[in-house]
Subunit: 459 residues, 2 copies
């Protein structure tokens, strides 16, 4: 948190505690809703939150409300009178209202819907129907639409009339009389055109659209790729039903990156900020993969049980090399898998690139394996043998370990790049195929390789 923000929070608290409400109100109307929301969440007891919220200027109240987290929202709603609730809900953009409702328990949802405008209620209910990961779930139905024969002047008049309730006015949509989307026109184009120009002549009629059931991550990536401020959402008949705005797209991209990072670290995704998660929900998100990966390590144990005696007969130092081999294999495989997972997420790689990827990883892995094998040989000879005096590290033994490392790295890279590609192909989430998962497989494979190579050369 910046110093400025800390100072602001101190000021707010002081004014609130000392009941200097007029000064407080003046300060609040100059403060960003997101900052007020953070203040309410972090600095006030539940009983004070509603008191503080009631001091907010009317036009700020719902903006602040949607910026608070869902726990605070729930507490506030429970404290609201029906009239207050109605005012806040009706003042929200519909997609924000839907976001709020999605996090609430059933009885609160019921109360919200009961207290909202009948027309809004219907639209909220429609938006609630869309699947969680669809464009429909993040779109808003409040946009500006024109008919093609309107002039620029008429367009501006319509914006003045309906714009206050639209999430963005800067990109407007032109539809025919059956609501089919036929063009898009920006306020910039309208400002630079003449007042009497007809929209049909200045609109862009090759509109990029998405459908309501398209994946919201893809939609967000498109907004980012084309640098749009909004993207129109159409139904199967090509009728305009909503728009996705860039601020929501940014949130989606951030959430998806967080989700991928969590999956890569063997955690089930959880949207709540860390400090607001209960220890049980953290436990629930972490325990499944930890358990699964532990049980699958049974194979490594079995292999080690089988070969331990043979390895010990050759030299006890061989066993001491196992963790280094496994870790390096795991790291090498993790590098490849994470690179591929992120590239798939960014749309840089598709399944059809399989052979390109494989060929690249094979060449890279040979380079890396050679580098690491040489380094390993030097390290065992200089550090372990000469410096620490483990005379068992004979040149031949060092060579054997280095050879095993060489093969392990190549194998790890191949497994690491193939698994996410195939996961994508069979519509599994590639992010799950990251380090922890790869490590478990690579551990077992590298141990088998190591035992086989050691016994073949030294046994």
């Amino acid at each position: 948190m910046t110093e400025e923000l800390l100072k602001l929070f101190e000021q707010l608290e002081e004014l609130f505690v000392n009941k200097k409400y007029n000064e407080l109100k003046a300060l609040l109307s100059d403060t960003e809703p997101a900052d007020i929301a953070k203040f309410i969440e972090d600095n006030l007891e539940e009983i004070d939150q509603i008191r503080f919220f009631r001091l907010l200027p009317k036009d700020l109240a719902s903006d602040v409300f949607i910026e608070t987290d869902s726990d605070t929202q729930e507490a506030l709603i429970k404290a609201f009178t029906d009239k207050e609730l109605k005012a806040v809900i009706d003042d929200m953009f519909l997609d924000d209202a839907v976001d709020v409702i999605e996090e609430m328990p059933a009885n609160v949802v019921k109360r919200i819907l009961k207290n909202s405008d009948p027309q809004n209620r219907q639209q909220i209910n429609e938006l609630l129907e869309y699947p969680d990961d669809s464009a429909g779930s993040i779109m808003t139905t409040e946009f500006v639409s024109f008919s093609a024969d309107m002039t620029v002047e008429q367009g501006f008049d319509k914006i003045r009339k309906t714009g206050i309730n639209s999430e963005t006015i800067y990109t407007c949509y032109v539809t025919d009389n059956r609501k089919h989307l036929i063009g898009v026109v920006t306020v910039k184009e309208m400002l630079l055109a003449g007042k009497t120009d007809v929209l049909r002549d200045i609109m862009d009629d090759s509109v990029i659209t998405v459908e309501t059931l398209d994946d919201k991550e893809q939609v967000a990536m498109m907004l980012s790729k084309y640098d749009f401020l909004a993207l129109p959402v159409v139904d199967r008949e090509g009728c305009l039903v909503g728009i996705v705005t860039v601020d929501d797209a940014v949130d989606v991209l951030q959430e998806e990156a967080t989700e991928d990072i969590q999956k890569m670290a063997a955690i089930l995704p959880n949207e709540k900020p860390y400090l607001k998660q209960s220890i049980w929900s953290i436990w629930k998100a972490r325990v499944p993969w930890l358990l699964l990966l532990m049980v699958s390590a049974t194979f490594t144990g079995l292999i080690l049980n089988t070969y331990e005696a043979s390895l010990s007969d050759i030299s006890t130092v061989l066993i001491a090399c196992v963790p280094m081999l496994m870790d390096t294999g795991g790291n090498a495989g993790g590098q490849a898998s994470v690179t591929i997972i992120r590239s798939i997420a960014l749309g840089d790689i598709e399944f059809k690139d399989l052979f390109k990827v494989l060929w690249k990883e094979i060449r890279v892995s040979i380079l890396l394996a050679a580098t690491l094998a040489v380094a390993c040989f030097v390290k065992l000879t200089l550090i372990d043998n000469l410096l620490f005096g483990y005379k068992d590290y004979t040149p031949l033994l060092c060579l054997t370990v280095s050879l095993a490392l060489f093969v392990t790295i190549i194998m790890a890279k191949i497994v690491g790049c193939l698994l996410p590609m195939f996961a994508k192909k069979i519509k599994l989430d590639p992010a799950v195929m990251a380090s922890p998962f790869i490590t478990t497989i690579v551990d077992a494979l590298s141990l088998m390789l190591f035992c086989a190579i050691s016994i073949a050369i030294l046994g």
Copy 2:
């Protein structure tokens, strides 16, 4: 890639190969610059790229150019005549020109600067001075500014005059006669106000600003937090020097997420898409951490060398449990560290939350450790002893391994949450403290714990 895009590419290729240039031009003017850029990059030989580029309508050329990757840009620039180069560069927004220049070799940079407008050249040179990770490096100097005593009508006139060259016109800035930023006004507010209203009365005078040297990631996070379309950048005297727009902020957030993911997987960050990276640059990005982590595994080897004999004396199956212990420790530590790293990046956690985080991780780790320890005991008893017949897994030995696992998980979680927090404190990048790094530390610690506990109970 969507089917639509594939079809479009086929069409473009067919028209180009058959030299149907008029149809091609018509199709191109209806196509998004980002899509044309991808077509040029992926589907054309270098010699065709410039031929194709010359067919682009004039107003599209520079938009397409900035969307191509830097290799294609370099090839195109080398093929441009001076006149073509000047047209493309002068038509770009300055921040885009700077992005292009930053990726070019020195002789190309010289040629670009020589062929750009003297006024642009000066501003480009100023922008090039800002450090790579600063707000200055992603801002543009092309924005609309007003003086406070202008009316709304005069404001719109100024937008009509200068707007075509501004990256955004929707957020405009009000400055005094010494260029100090004193307010901000949106086109929406101007449209909803009366034509003769004075900007001073409708502008918002509590403006959120950033400074030129602020971290660009922080700036992007602010844009996302406040849902702004642009954020003004001021110098130390409070004078407005540029703006950062939301499309650049989205790119920064995506790049930073990719960078963090790469660092978490022990890869040095690299901005280029995977398929465009040479195998040497991939090697260079991956080899340092692999080497370092391999060498640091020396400690694990030393510990195993020291205790191996004592462990084998007790039972050979103890050694077989080492990989499972290490992997689970590494996974548990990785979960904690990655959660904390991402929370720090998102601004959810700061160093002052250290004790809150530690207390949370301790409680979570006890829950997880208990769950895993019980599961481990059951697994060893049922699977390894009964199913696979390793009779060495006596109840006492299983209990010992489970106890070691219990302690390992708690230790791993504590190390995993503390290291990124301290890294942040001493201004190291927390993302480096992820799974591979944590694994190496946790491996050594868990092995020592395991040996000590085994010898104490069984030895």
